[in-house]
């Protein structure tokens, strides 16, 4: 280890130090000053973002390795990390209001979130099977605890338990695959593995290991049939935690897919492409179909996540630089969209009751036109209606699979995104064409409203100026 190693991983170290500091600061803060923790956390993210963007050790277009090749910093890592900070910053602002309203205000939320972020960053920058696994576990462990944050809520505890057990099972499967990979190649470093696999050729043991690795990735993304935890966890967790689980870990899961499949197992592209094709198609079909039958917004968004992850996999399975950048674009925009949607849910929630039933959205336009308009933009974007950024995300991944000749998959994707637009538009219909059931005022603090407005309008602006972000994603591969 040298000083330059530390320098390359400086943002990670900074987040670690700050997470520990915040944990200590929280102990000495009186109950009514807990908002400070939120403020410091957002500042931490801001500084970490500056660190990533400003202090590039040498040149970000080439990958830099640190800690004996277990850690890598490249363009993709930098871009994903910055978006992790942005999304998490928004989540922190939204969560502060939520935690206050639900009387859950505690520093642990922020500390665990920052540890989760650290895990995501480790995973994003992983260059070895070991760091992939440890990053994943750090994310998972933090999220298990966060899901059960509201201890008095039986639903949350149940969801956390399910998440924990299924997550352990998936981790076990992934670890099994990794150990087989290590057994065949004799190395933990992803680039060494890629080299050995290329020499080994068509080895059944490797394909067998690959299956377990793919299952691990599929579980983390929530792809069918490894998706069962998603609806229960989304539903059971407090909205502020659901929002978190739907954002940063998705970016990390995308990175995990790229690191393992592209960086590590690219010689086996033909094999994982076939596996992911099945998973992606199933996710798109099942996710969209079941979302229609939901009357609970959190569950609906959970199934919509499943279908979105299917779309994301389309880009990954294309196996081209174009596909990867499309999937990255999808992951980033999805994280932003889903955060915004949960923020609307939080804003509508009253003390102790989350606005999770679709009926709560009836006539929202009459109660708060701005909020309704923002939700409309978010829903349109999720449905993939042109001009909104979600359209470009879908368009890019579909273009990527068309370029590798998977016409039937593209047709499935298009047909089911049309079917899927039904449930997004239903929310819009409820907001604009139904009579409200209550006339309570919908309010939130100014910072919350500001961030939410930016978040909603971003759907439109990112669509109009999609090129900048697309260029950023393309430059990452």
């Amino acid at each position: 280890m040298t000083a330059s190693d530390l320098f390359i991983a400086l943002p990670e170290l900074f987040i670690l130090v700050m997470a520990c500091l915040i944990m200590l600061i929280d102990l000495y803060l009186p109950e009514n000053r807990r908002g400070m923790v939120s403020f410091i956390s957002v500042l931490t993210l801001l500084f970490a973002g500056i660190m990533v963007m400003r202090w590039q050790a040498v040149d970000s277009s080439t990958a830099q390795y640190a800690f004996n090749g277990t850690f890598v910093r490249d363009r993709m890592a930098d871009v994903l990390k910055v978006f992790c900070f942005i999304v998490l910053g928004a989540v922190f602002v939204y969560a502060k209001h939520y935690l206050r309203v639900f009387k859950l205000m505690c520093g642990e939320y922020y500390v665990l979130s920052l540890f989760l972020l650290l895990g995501a960053m480790v995973l994003i920058s992983a260059a070895s099977l070991l760091t992939v696994y440890l990053g994943l576990e750090l994310i998972s462990l933090s999220s298990y605890a966060l899901v059960a944050l509201n201890r008095d809520d039986r639903r949350g505890a149940e969801a956390a338990m399910k998440y924990f057990i299924l997550g352990s099972l998936a981790s076990g499967l992934l670890l099994y695959g990794m150990s087989m990979l290590y057994g065949v190649t004799g190395s933990l470093s992803l680039s060494d593995i890629a080299a050995s696999v290329a020499i080994a050729g068509d080895n059944v043991m490797l394909v067998f290991a690959l299956v377990f690795v793919v299952v691990g990735i599929a579980f983390k993304l929530g792809a069918v049939p490894f998706h069962m935890w998603v609806p229960d966890v989304y539903h059971g967790a407090p909205a502020a935690v659901t929002m978190l689980i739907g954002s940063v870990p998705k970016l990390a899961a995308f990175a995990m897919a790229i690191r393992l499949l592209d960086n590590g197992l690219v010689p086996m592209q033909g094999d994982w492409m076939a596996m992911l094709t099945v998973l992606a198609a199933l996710s798109i079909i099942v996710g969209n179909l079941v979302a229609i039958a939901q009357t609970n917004l959190k569950r609906m968004l959970a199934y919509s996540t499943i279908s979105h992850m299917g779309f994301l996999l389309l880009g990954v399975l294309a196996g081209t630089a174009q596909g990867y950048s499309a999937a990255m674009f999808y992951a980033i925009t999805y994280a932003i969209m889903s955060t915004g949607a949960f923020a609307v849910l939080i804003m509508l929630s009253k003390s102790g009751i989350e606005a999770e039933n679709l009926d709560d959205y009836k006539g929202l336009n009459q109660r708060n036109p701005l909020l309704a308009a923002l939700m409309l933009m978010l829903m349109f974007s999720m449905a993939g209606i042109p001009v909104f950024v979600g359209f470009f995300a879908k368009w890019l991944v579909i273009q990527a699979i068309l370029d590798v000749g998977l016409l039937w998959l593209a047709v499935v994707a298009v047909v089911f995104s049309v079917i899927g637009s039904f449930y997004y538009l239903r929310v819009v219909k409820l907001m604009y064409f139904d009579e409200p059931e209550t006339t309570d005022k919908v309010t939130a603090p100014a910072d919350f409203r500001f961030v939410l407005t930016v978040n909603g309008v971003a759907q439109l602006l990112m669509g109009i100026f999609a090129n900048a972000l697309i260029a950023l994603c393309v430059a990452s591969f």
Binding site: A9, V111, L112, L130, L134, E137, Y144, A145, N203
Partner: protein, 204 residues
């Protein structure tokens, strides 16, 4: 077949059987004891692989600490086994079927194609200390993963405390020694001044 292979299969069999027993025996104390047996067998297999440190750690930490704690819990809590076992028989056939298919697939892969391609690790030189090697590697080559593992443990502590510790505001009874020491007489003793009255007036 060398003696090592024989020993491997011996402990392998014990390991598998004891693992099976962990989930099939009715008495949870027995199950925990079978788990101890399974740990011992795997420690023996690790010995075969010349990783003494891990073998010893496994016995010390898992058998010595974790399982003892576990046995305490099992014995203190009166777990209702009949309720836990509901549905076990109902799902058993499907479970066995799935397990068989899985095992079949594994066997097929490992036996037919895989085995011959796995390279053997190079043998260790004379006087090789597994413990020293491990220590060196952990703090040099694998420093970063090692630190991250430490963070994971930290998160586990934070998570455990978050989930179990009820905060001060939630009705727990706590002592505050600082306040106890600073207590003044006035806080504890109230001197009530009462006018002296005669019985006669009072009784009238």
């Amino acid at each position: 077949m060398s003696i090592q292979v024989l020993v491997f299969y011996l402990f392998g069999t014990i390991l598998t059987l004891s693992a099976l027993s962990v989930i099939t025996v009715r008495n949870p104390v027995y199950a925990a004891l079978f788990l101890v047996l399974a740990f011992f067998s795997s420690a023996a297999i690790w010995m075969l692989l010349e990783v003494e440190f891990l073998a010893i750690t496994l016995v010390l930490v898992y058998v010595g600490a974790v399982m003892v704690l576990f046995l305490f819990v099992v014995m203190m809590l009166d777990v209702n086994l009949s309720r836990l076992r509901e549905g076990f028989a109902r799902y058993l056939p499907v479970g066995i079927l799935v397990a068989l298919v899985m095992a079949g697939e594994l066997l097929l892969v490992i036996w037919t194609k895989g085995a011959e391609k796995l390279p053997l690790p190079p043998g260790n030189p004379e006087g090789f200390s597994n413990t020293t090697y491990l220590g060196e590697r952990l703090y040099t080559e694998y420093l970063f993963p090692f630190e991250i593992a430490a963070v994971i443990l930290l998160v586990a502590i934070v998570a455990a405390i978050t989930l179990t510790h009820r905060g001060r505001s939630e009705g727990g009874r706590y002592q505050d020694p600082a306040r106890q020491v600073q207590v003044t007489r006035d806080e504890r003793v109230r001197i009530v001044s009462m006018p002296a009255v005669k019985d006669k007036e009072n009784g009238a």
